[in-house]
């Protein structure tokens, strides 16, 4: 989603994106010419009249589960977006909690206990080095 027109998106796809990745962008390039959608999401920048560099992860019920906004010259880190998505999806299907730095295969924590359950202490399952 950017403030560019669909025509500019088409040109960008045809002139640059197909040269950067085979097939170009496989997902829709949306147009937000007045920044109305950016404003709805709180990420429109009125100075340069652009949408900010923002990533939203939205769950199957339509709820926002994660949000990142970056300013400046540093680009996003896509593996991190995918990591968070996998963690959220894992929680959704198992109820497990995913600690810092979780990747598939690393230790998970049991769901929040009810009053009658006493979970194992975190330090018996997860060490700080697991975050890296």
């Amino acid at each position: 989603m950017s403030v560019d027109s669909v025509d500019t998106h088409r040109k960008w796809q045809e002139e640059e994106l197909v040269r950067m990745v085979k097939g170009g962008a496989l997902f829709p390039l949306c147009s937000d010419p007045q920044g109305e959608i950016g404003k709805l999401f709180g990420v429109y920048d009125p100075g340069p009249e652009e949408d900010l560099r923002a990533t939203f992860i939205i769950d199957p019920e339509g709820r926002i589960q994660a949000l990142e906004i970056l300013a400046g010259p540093a680009g996003r880190n896509i593996p991190e977006t995918l990591r968070i998505l996998r963690a959220l999806a894992h929680h959704r299907s198992t109820g497990n909690l995913l600690p810092c730095g979780w990747q598939p295969g690393k230790p998970v924590l049991a769901p929040e206990p009810g009053d009658r359950h006493k979970p194992a202490p975190t330090w018996e399952i997860w060490e700080t080095r697991n975050a890296f």
Partner: protein
């Protein structure tokens, strides 16, 4: 902030270019699936 973590994202309809075709994208159509929504500054920029 008009949006909050844990709350429903605002619905929208946007014109879009997708693999050679022009279409409308409506967020609500994606219910039942995870969505990653990327806002970015402009086409033809290096970062």
């Amino acid at each position: 902030m008009p949006v909050q973590i844990g709350k429903e994202a605002p619905d929208f309809v946007a014109k879009a270019y997708h693999q050679g075709t022009l279409k409308k994208v409506r967020l609500r159509d994606y219910r039942g699936r995870w969505v990653i929504l990327f806002f970015y500054l402009r086409d033809f920029t290096p970062v």
